[in-house]
Assembly symmetry: D2
Homo-oligomer: 389 residues x 4
């Protein structure tokens, strides 16, 4: 009988819930070589963390991160905290010889990301593994797109068009830590561009060699400060992060790309979209219809070519679906986390994941692109990736 994997989670907000649900569900839906054991959850407020642990089934709770690092029972540290603390937490855990699964983006800055990569390299020699929660890779439609490219179904790729459009950042949204560059690092850029850079790299298997023309804009420069005090006058504070960042790219293969992340694309709530056009075929994806992949087969008889809406919900045909429900009995956002949890367990049992898993090394490459875009936006010039450490 295999030993279970003892997991400690840091964070109890949005990502805390998503990760807890994944660890709770993963052995129900998937047949796996080892079990996930929900050992300890760690967050700031003792009472709330204890209630969270009870609700989601964590055996222990703590407010002290050291309790996790120093606990010899813990196998895997799962980091679901804000970006600026990833580096400290991940490096401490790696140095304590624990596997680490870290939320994306890898870090708040390229410097921190590099330190994390270096720590991961060192730990890897001791058999310690790292994972980054780029959860969209395990959306079945996205994973299937990756497989289509791998099989050569798109042929030579000409275009990558990636956008992550949200619209919750309008002028009525009050000031919060998300609009403070010291805490959040960046706005839409780190939050959303990180996802689509990873997706583009994952699906194409290609690397960006140049970033150009980046435009970074803060449309809403002042936002209301919400306080509990009743006051006659509204008070406003400054937003110090981007509302949107756009940039263009060239890929190693010769393909060209465009990227855009924004929180002010009215009408788009979670439109994580990508289109890739190749010589033999093309794909389109929109997370707002996450169970579907649009596929164009350019090798069919020309009278019958069209954008084909594939429901990526067939067990056997589409990745991860055999764990869930019958055809067109849709899955949702959370299943990306559950499927990633399954692959993490497989890898910790010495098996291969269904599709490639991003480790710190891989996520560091994505962080370099984010950084290059910031340089391009500032200098108003193209940036060769070879110039970015």
């Amino acid at each position: 009988m295999p030993t279970p994997i003892n997991i400690a989670l840091i964070g109890s907000k949005f990502m805390g819930r998503a990760h807890s649900n994944a660890w709770m569900s993963v052995n129900k839906f998937f047949d796996l070589p080892r079990d996930a054991m929900m050992h300890t959850v760690c967050a700031k407020n003792a009472k709330q963390t204890s209630a969270f642990a009870k609700k989601w089934g964590w055996f222990n709770s703590t407010t002290n991160f050291k309790d996790i690092i120093n606990n010899g029972e813990i196998d895997l540290v799962d980091i679901g905290t804000p970006n600026h603390v990833h580096a400290d937490q991940a490096i401490s855990a790696l140095e304590a010889s624990k596997h680490v699964a870290c939320e994306k983006p890898l870090a708040g800055t390229l410097d921190e990301a590099r330190k994390m990569r270096d720590a991961a390299r060192k730990a890897k020699r001791k058999g310690i593994q790292t994972f980054v929660w780029f959860n969209y890779r395990r959306c079945p439609a996205v994973a299937f797109a990756h497989q289509l490219v791998q099989k050569g179904k798109l042929g030579k790729i000409y275009h990558v068009r990636a956008k992550y459009l949200q619209d919750w950042g309008g002028p009525d949204t009050p000031l919060s830590w998300r609009f403070d560059s010291k805490l959040a690092g960046s706005g839409a850029h780190g939050d959303l561009n990180a996802h689509i850079i990873d997706m583009a790299r994952f699906i194409t298997g290609d690397e960006i060699v140049e970033v150009s023309g980046a435009v970074s804009e803060t449309f809403i420069k002042q936002r209301e400060i919400i306080t509990t005090k009743k006051s006659a006058r509204k008070r406003f504070g400054k937003s110090t992060v981007d509302d949107c960042v756009l940039f263009l790219t060239k890929f190693k293969s010769g393909a060209v790309g465009s990227f855009e992340a924004t929180r002010l694309a009215t009408g788009n709530q979670n439109a994580n979209q990508i289109e890739i056009n190749g010589e033999k075929g093309a794909i389109k994806f929109d997370f707002e219809r996450m169970n579907e992949l649009q596929w164009w087969d350019n090798t069919l008889d020309s009278s019958l070519r069209g954008w084909s809406r594939i429901m990526c919900t067939n067990a056997g045909d589409h990745p991860y679906i055999d764990a869930y429900w019958p055809p067109a009995h849709l899955i949702g956002y959370e299943h990306g986390f559950t499927s990633q949890a399954a692959d993490i367990i497989r890898m910790l049992a010495g098996k291969k994941p269904i599709v490639p898993m991003p480790d710190f090394e891989d996520a560091y490459q994505t962080q370099r692109i984010l950084h290059a875009a910031l340089i391009s936006a500032k200098k108003r010039q193209a940036v060769r990736m070879s110039e970015v450490k």
Copy 2:
């Protein structure tokens, strides 16, 4: 501290998994007055049932239905078995003063359904409640459509157009119990028309008064018998259920309706579709895009009218969503069960459900329509509902 609800589940196949997941998840996602306690699961094969219990977190397992009926700790019996055993199981449980949640359709025949309704009426006087798993009612888009009608946003309704199209029943699908009328009762009719009759009644709040022109067809009359024995010759057996049933209806309000269920609608995997056209507005829904409701507001300026794709994923705006994820972070098929489980718990704690819950009385009305369609198909005539007991 409120007492938990001790639940016993019968069945460990498709519905067994869906219900187990719902009971496991419901108190994580929802804040509820009582907790679901996964007390006992009951199914045929002892070894498999024990493994199922371990996997999904049921405390006990049994192969003897009487163990449940006789166990005074059990509060709620959850029936996820084939249609032809619903009546026996439900009536026994009700007579033992247990609440019952039964899979749809209520029963395999109208006679059985009537007996179940009578038992439920009797039990109700003792405070015992019944529930039927018409899970699509709690798809947020469907529940929201119900609310729009309730608020008068559609005005007088003219048309109801309901279809449940699947395509897994082609000539290559081998013979199974699903094609045996003795075990399955019917084919697409009981399986799929039951859902859309319930949905039409739920959304409109209206009742069907006439069924006409029903067409029932078995396209594939012989199906291959799959055996483990190796044989030189393929063997075929007779399918004794319908592959599709279509019928037309008149509603009490004067609206007209059309219904169709089929397993041979090539290209449609789980297309549970409904369109309702009213004087002031119209709605369209397709389960293959279950997070979306198409809405037409006929009171807008005529230059701006159009089918509007509402993502029914806003906490506060759309039913049940506050329990799950941020806007356009989609939910899936299983969440209908989780949300229904939440409403069952609310009702067992004396609260009201978010949208109306079908009990045996209500599900019996749906069964009457199913029955009327069979009469119409046989007699080639219209059938007034007043003629159907």
Copy 3:
């Protein structure tokens, strides 16, 4: 040099414009063996007809139908008048040995339609041809669907689902001749069901053998009478036509069908929709996106199957398109008439049309189905087509 075809048009309203545009354009877009000569237009009001002739390029105008019948120069009489006068006009023209192109439906009643068919049979022996303007057959997507079925790409057909949904007939629409059964014959039934019955027969090449369960409803029983007199009180009159007619069918091949025509399907302006599911493939069409055919190829690898949106706009690939514009430079409603005009010219020059052309014989079969639906609606029973003369 081939002699031109001298054409006389009767009617100068909606269809008068559509036909005039077709005859004006046909030799510009198509290379044809003969030229259309716009000889004479005939309508009721002398002044308006003369202005119409000048505007659209008809050489002569008249208000006397006999002028056309008696004019030896006229080769083809094109009838664009209301249904109840089709029979008189068409039979007179045929008896005068003129080819006739008649608007759909063939006639206001089955009796008239039969007389027209008989006259056409007699004229045919003298080499006189008849044509019916079921213009949607020559929508490239519809013609292409016909070709796919002919090539066996759908295999055995199981389902035909045809709807023609409009929404202009709401309670605010005033009384007009269209709501007077004496002038209009019927409401949505003759106007819209005629089109989709023809389309279903055309695409499948199959014939209906039974009609059942027909529901005919007049939702709006009283409509306002609009007069030029100023009056303190609104006056209302009775609508004596159907607002909608639905019915179900069986086909000779064993396929089952559903048909619906309505003017009160709020949100649908011209939704002439058909879906056909076969063993090997399926098609969907909606005139509101008339340049597109949805195609499902059930013979593809199962992982790649999906509804494929074919833009039916490729010269060479899709019927009639070589006459018009480059790929995805859309065509519109009027092009169906122009393409039909081209086929009429081809046939009058002894050539074959691109896809089959409905003559009076063919349109009579469609009229029989319309009639059977009326009987079924009245008797509340199924009607075998063999019972309908």
Copy 4:
């Protein structure tokens, strides 16, 4: 009785047909103060031009451009020739005091465009008018989007996302003049970006102040030379134009934009797409569904917001539609030209067009953006529009 407008057309290929159809149809569909008289068509080959004139109804044909310039009867010269001859032809015509309607882009180079603008300015003082065939402005959905912005329905604009994607330029497409920079000026850039720059400026009423990061790529560097000679060996020649050009922009209002034109976007045949997100609303348009405008009203109750598919086909509600057919009886590509012809006639009769008409002055601004993108692509830097003459 008003005098007709005598028109001379130069060109008899794709645009020659489109313009001829427009002049033939315009007075049939529209009620206008003056008539279009199809006086003379001019093209290279005498025999073909004569046949073209006969087919489309031009009274005269010539191969000598001077015949038009020197003919005092001609009021309007309509230029449908390749870009590199626009300047010569337009300036000659203006100097001969003829109104000029020129195909887009205004010219092959910015220098030529400036000379044309200067000539137009001079002619304007004499009452001579200029027009540029940016035909997509008069697609009803696009014109309606312009009106929505004008009425303030989008509020402050944040994002403009414009793409013109085609896919006919794959590796199998042989070498032609279109791939020769000397004859074509550019590839996708002048052909397609010209359209979407004009559309973005037209709909928003805003001006671009900075262009950055432009990427210009020739994916297919060698193309086959097709000759009539039979040869054992395939021969290849060099393509000297771009296959795609992408760039990012800032607008005067503070909005940011992205533009992309390509001939290798597999799966997109004529996807002229634009999305604009504002504070109060958003629009999306795709020419492949040119009768539809996607509209998001951000001022509706949040539970009812969604992308609304407006069929821009209602007379009274949507521009130009009163000239054509009933609701959802679609119009096509050619109607943009017919509607523009109607506005040209209105303007030549001293009336206002339905929506603003681009003259040479306006088209010159679009040409400046095209030029700035080329500079940015070459220098790998951002270009301020104030730096571009």
